[in-house]
């Protein structure tokens, strides 16, 4: 290798671009390392509730309670409605509007 080659190599090395690091690069790297090593954060109430809902025993119990409540309220409502209709039928028969 002659002296010209050495000069050329030095010249090329001197012009190799070195990318600039983003601001606070080192600080951010250390923060991410600390986060990764820290114990897992406790889950939010929403996650806890979702987990509870997904438990088969809870889901079945909730569905059974809702079904029972719907049947009870519906039966009561239907009975009251039927009684009101029956009362109106009786009233229309024994006391026509012209008499009331």
């Amino acid at each position: 290798m002659n002296s010209d080659d050495l000069k050329l190599q030095e010249l090329l090395r001197g012009h190799r671009p070195v990318p600039a690091l983003p601001p606070r690069f080192q600080q951010n790297v250390w923060r991410r390392i600390e986060d990764a090593e820290a114990p897992a954060k406790s889950e939010s109430w929403l996650d806890a509730l979702a987990a509870l809902i997904l438990r088969p025993r809870f889901a079945l119990a909730a569905a059974a309670v809702l079904l029972l409540a719907g049947v009870s309220v519906g039966s009561l409502e239907g009975r009251q409605f039927a009684q009101r209709n029956a009362q109106m039928n009786y009233l229309a028969a024994v006391a026509p509007d012209s008499v009331r």
């Binding site: 939010s44 929403l46 996650d47 509730l49 979702a50 809902i53 997904l54 889901a59 909730a62 569905a63 809702l66 079904l67 029972l68 409540a69 719907g70 049947v71 009870s72 309220v73 519906g74 039966s75 409502e77 239907g78 009975r79 409605f81 039927a82 009684q83 209709n85 029956a86 009362q87 039928n89 009786y90 009233l91 229309a92 028969a93 024994v94 006391a95 026509p96 012209s98 008499v99 009331r100």
Partner: protein, 163 residues
């Protein structure tokens, strides 16, 4: 969107669907089961828990009452038609029309007396407590309407008009 939130919304929707489905099915089934539109006396059976013997007696009285009631109602309808032709398009209330109004009021009073007598007779067929409750209910449903109108017209105070 957050996965937990999606699960919660889905569960709520499913819960609402289960409740609504069971509610409407039960309501419809109960209505179909309890309702007998052809029988006028079904309400008495449902509300006052009457036995077959009591229902048979009341049914007999009911049939008898209906024929008398229909007769008087037909009379009222006839008098109303006469009144309508008498009033016509005139602007004054003639003596003839006033007399017709009095006749209608007389028949209506007769009809109401007969109706109240029927209620009393029916109440006597029922057990005393049910009979008393039936009478109160029927009075409220038939005569109560007029009382409400009269009370509202008189200022709902029970006092007489002061001129």
């Amino acid at each position: 969107m957050n996965r937990s939130l999606l699960i919660l919304i889905g569960a709520l929707a499913l819960g609402a669907a289960i409740f609504a489905g069971s509610f409407f099915t039960a309501r419809h089934t109960t209505m179909m089961c309890c309702e007998k539109p052809a029988d006028d006396l079904n309400w008495l059976r449902l509300e006052f828990h009457l036995g077959d013997a009591e229902m048979a007696r009341i049914r007999e009285m009911h049939e008898g009452y209906l024929s008398k009631c229909a007769e008087l109602c037909a009379k009222i309808a006839g008098k109303k038609r006469e009144l309508s032709s008498l009033v016509g398009t005139g602007t004054n209330l003639t003596a003839g029309a006033q007399a017709k109004l009095n006749e209608i009021a007389g028949i209506r009073a007769q009809c109401q007396t007969q109706m109240l007598e029927h209620f009393v007779a029916v109440s006597r067929v029922m057990p005393p407590e049910s009979g008393a409750r039936y009478l109160v209910e029927m009075k409220k449903l038939t005569l109560g309407h007029h009382e409400q109108v009269e009370q509202s017209m008189s200022g709902d105070s029970g006092h007489e008009h002061q001129h």
